[in-house]
């Protein structure tokens, strides 16, 4: 016999035992969640009225906020957790009052201490709390956390730096995107950088020369979003020669937003059939965004392009460029691309 009876019995007992344990685990997970929710609800219920008063901006004399500072023990922990959650949604005086409650509770100081905790969750939550409390003095600590071994902590640190909005942190945030093995997710970095004001334009220019494609893409995207015209030379370079297609498309879109008449030629150069179709389409849209009359002949030429979408985008761009653009459509009135663009424009106009 290949399998001994003892081995078979043993294996069966282990498997069935594990099944029973897992059933207990399912029940325990659910029961624990229920009891924790109930406990939190019970602890929070007496504090809820003053909390709502503060959050809704009706605590004119500060009495409700004062009442919240008296919470102790587990109630305080539960309350602080709820305050942190609320701070993601409210601004102004109510937010300042709630931050004051956190400060009185020692939550901000505890968060600073928690930044060196061994627990990933604690470090990440601490970073978020420091951001929500707009604790500007902790920027160096948060910048350091951008290199944390855990992506959750890096994410939270970038989020916090975005909330604090200190442009001095822009360089480290952008650099963190391409950090080997410990990269910062591009979406978080972009959102953080969005909140850092106009002082980040030079950082973005440097970012466009970074070796990492994600860093270049974020820098190019934000340069366009924030209309940082100083980044135009770098954007042109990226559109011309970047090895990554996504970066080139992003650069074309950015040039469309903030470019000048001299950028028409650069964009037109990348509308030729030898370029990837996605890039050609991005360049045509960018030409329309740019709205420079110099682009009209090139766009009119593209009305006969073999790609119907490109032709329609060119027609749409020409329609948005005033009488000269519309004149360029004459003679193409029967083209499906032109008819479609005209129809869509008229529908949009009628509904405006």
């Amino acid at each position: 016999m290949i399998i001994g009876a003892a081995l078979l019995v043993g294996a069966t007992v282990v498997v069935l035992g594990a099944c029973v344990l897992l059933i207990f685990a399912v029940v325990a997970v659910r029961a624990r969640r229920h009891s924790r929710n109930q406990r939190d609800e019970m602890l929070l219920s007496p504090l809820r009225p003053p909390l709502i008063t503060v959050a809704s901006g009706e605590d004119d004399d500060g009495a409700a906020a004062e009442e919240l500072t008296w919470a102790t023990g587990v109630s305080r922990t539960v309350l602080d957790r709820n305050i942190v959650e609320m701070l993601t949604k409210i601004r102004g005086v109510p937010a300042e009052q709630l931050v004051h409650v956190l400060e009185v509770h020692g939550a901000v100081d505890a968060a600073v201490a928690d930044m060196s905790s061994r627990s990933t969750v604690k470090r990440a939550r601490a970073a978020q709390l420091l951001g929500l409390a707009r604790a500007g003095h902790t920027v160096p600590l948060l910048v350091e956390a951008l290199g944390d071994e855990s992506v959750e902590v890096r994410n939270s640190a970038a989020y916090a730096l975005g909330l604090i909005g200190d442009p001095a942190a822009a360089g480290p945030v952008l650099a963190a995107i391409g950090a080997p093995e410990r990269g910062l997710p591009a979406a978080t970095a972009a959102e953080a950088l969005q909140s850092m004001g106009v002082g980040i334009s030079e950082v973005l220019r440097d970012g466009m020369a970074d070796a990492n494609a994600r860093t270049r893409m974020v820098a190019a995207h934000l340069s366009g979003e924030r209309s940082f015209t100083r980044g135009l030379p770098e954007l042109r370079q990226l559109l011309d020669a970047d090895p990554d297609l996504t970066v080139r498309e992003t650069s074309a879109t950015a040039i469309g937003r903030l470019g000048r008449a001299e950028d028409v030629g650069i964009l037109v150069r990348h509308c030729v059939p030898s370029e990837p179709l996605a890039l050609r389409r991005a360049c045509v849209v960018a030409l329309g965004e740019l709205g420079e009359a110099e682009a009209i002949p090139a766009l009119a030429h593209l009305l006969a392009d073999s790609d119907p979408r490109l032709a329609e985008l060119a027609a749409t761009a020409l329609l948005s460029m005033g009488p000269d653009g519309r004149d360029a459509l004459e003679g193409h009135g029967d083209d499906p691309a032109v008819r479609t663009a005209r129809l869509l424009a008229s529908l949009q106009k009628a509904s405006a």
């Binding site: 069935l16 897992l22 399912v26 993601t88 990933t120 990440a124 969005q194 996504t246 990837p276 996605a278």
Partner: protein, 482 residues
């Protein structure tokens, strides 16, 4: 020859078979269970990371880097639910998305319902031919209000794959999501599945989301308002299968960097990459699997740096078969698609440039997905025969059966723990007991039936029999539990 002689001959034959196959089968049994354990371990690690991420998640509303998404909805005779589905897709929480419906030559009122609900007007647009299409496009329509981001394309009937290819040609956003017209998406589903693209915009080429059966749940206006268990055992058992497949299988493979299957009910792809590889193959039965394999092959052949990820958050809810007839057709199709795709990409096996796909994922699918029903059928035939002939010890055989099926239950329970811990979609305690019961009942009849159906699908492919698409009878789910 006397009966005794026949019995003796049969006994010798069965003994010989058992002698020859015992070692390979035991090795297979150990390997498949070990691989499942490894997948459970990987899924556990992934969920621990996901749970950490969720508990420390910062608000993301898709601002900034969120790429635009075109939701591609092929529709064939969907008059009952198409308007509600499109409305719910249009109102998903996402900063930039459009819906592209392709009416695949419906013989019912699908188009008329859409035309009436959205006041559609014909546009003289020509569709790009980035992906070649055989069927004739009859017309393209948009809502008269000029604001609603909906495009409806009417075409001659030529099947789901080509309908999706037409939709890809008509799509204008950089990401395309392939979804069924009868699927229900979570309001934040798009935010979840696009996040990997926003985080890693230059490398991410595809993401898949978890799919759950909607049967039994309360649905109002295309939104799930209460998640409930299905009312009959057939869909309940399928729920158990979905839990296992998505919470352990896909999650584990994604963690390992070897995800090769994204479900057709919901998958999100970079449009340019799908166009580059030629779109869905209309001749393939397992078109979704085949597409992902083609993407892997092309990008690895070109040495490109890319990523395909699975997002375990429930994204899409779909109605699963409630009758054995429909289920049989589905399983036959799935297994046939699996076989044809694995065979088509056999050249990727054990080749260094395909990395974990060639060395781990594909061998796993060959051994433990494709051949599993064959070996299980062998067991289903040989064990009762051996018992009848008195060759094997009865308590021993029963114990082995309990071990084998007990292990299957163990895997399901692992998925249940993960589900309860991470998502806890079902509020009622009754749901727990019903799921546990379904995981046990699955082994009595259901499993054996699906083994047979899968083999039927494989066999019909080997015989070169033309596949006939069955009709998925929908019970519908508006207002009342499905």
């Amino acid at each position: 020859m006397s009966w005794d002689g026949i019995a003796s001959g049969l006994r010798s034959f069965v003994l010989w078979i058992m002698d020859v196959t015992a070692v390979p089968i035991i090795i297979y049994f150990v390997l498949i269970n070990t691989s499942l354990l490894v997948l459970i371990g990987l899924a556990y690690l992934e969920f621990r990371a996901q749970q950490r991420r969720r508990s420390t998640a910062v608000a993301w509303q898709g601002a900034g880097l969120a790429p635009g998404v075109s939701l591609l909805v092929p529709a064939y005779n969907e008059e009952a639910g198409i308007v509600m589905a499109v409305k719910s897709f249009l109102t998903l929480r996402y900063p930039r998305h459009e819906v592209v419906v392709v009416d695949d030559g419906s013989s019912d009122q699908t188009f008329a319902r859409l035309e009436e609900a959205f006041d559609l007007v014909h546009v003289p647009r020509e569709l790009p031919h980035e992906i070649p299409i055989r069927a004739k496009v009859l017309g393209i329509y948009v809502p008269r209000d000029g604001r609603t981001r909906l495009v409806v394309v009417r075409k001659e009937n030529s099947g789901r794959s080509e309908a999706i290819n037409v939709a890809i040609n008509a799509a204008s956003e950089p990401l395309v999501a392939m979804i069924d017209g009868d699927s229900i998406l979570e309001p934040d589903g798009l935010l979840h599945v696009t996040r990997p693209f926003a985080d890693d915009p230059t490398r991410m080429v595809a993401t898949g989301g978890a799919i759950r059966p909607v049967n039994g749940s309360r649905v109002v206006s295309g939104r799930i308002v209460r998640v409930e268990m299905p009312q009959t055992w057939l869909p309940r058992i399928q729920l158990v299968e979905y839990l296992r497949a998505f919470l352990l299988g896909r999650t584990g493979w994604s963690r390992l960097g070897g995800l090769i299957l994204i479900s057709g009910a919901f998958g999100l792809f970079r449009r340019d990459v799908v166009v580059e590889v030629g779109g869905l193959d209309p001749t393939s039965i397992g078109e979704d699997f085949e597409l992902v394999m083609r993407i892997h092959k092309r990008l690895r052949d070109e040495g490109r740096d890319y990523s395909i990820e699975f997002v375990p958050e429930p994204v899409s809810w779909t109605e699963v078969p409630v009758t054995a007839k429909v289920l049989r057709n589905q399983r036959r199709r799935w297994h046939r698609g699996l076989w044809e795709t694995l065979w088509a990409y056999r050249s990727m096996l054990f080749r260094r440039k395909y990395g974990r796909i060639g060395w781990l994922a594909l061998p796993y699918y060959w051994l433990f997905e494709l051949f599993a029903p064959l070996l299980e059928l062998f067991g289903i035939v040989i064990v009762p025969l051996a018992l009848a002939l008195g060759i094997v010890n009865v308590p021993f055989a029963i114990l082995f059966l309990v071990l084998a099926y007990g292990y299957a239950v163990l895997v399901t329970l692992s998925a249940m723990v993960v589900d309860e811990w991470a998502f806890h979609k079902h509020d009622r305690w009754r749901a727990i007991w019903q799921t546990i019961a379904a995981s046990v009942l699955e082994n009595i009849g259901y499993r054996q039936a699906t083994v047979w159906w899968r083999l039927e699908g494989w066999w019909s492919s080997l015989r070169g029999k033309k596949h006939v698409w069955g009709v998925m009878t929908r019970t519908g789910f508006d207002e009342e539990p499905a």
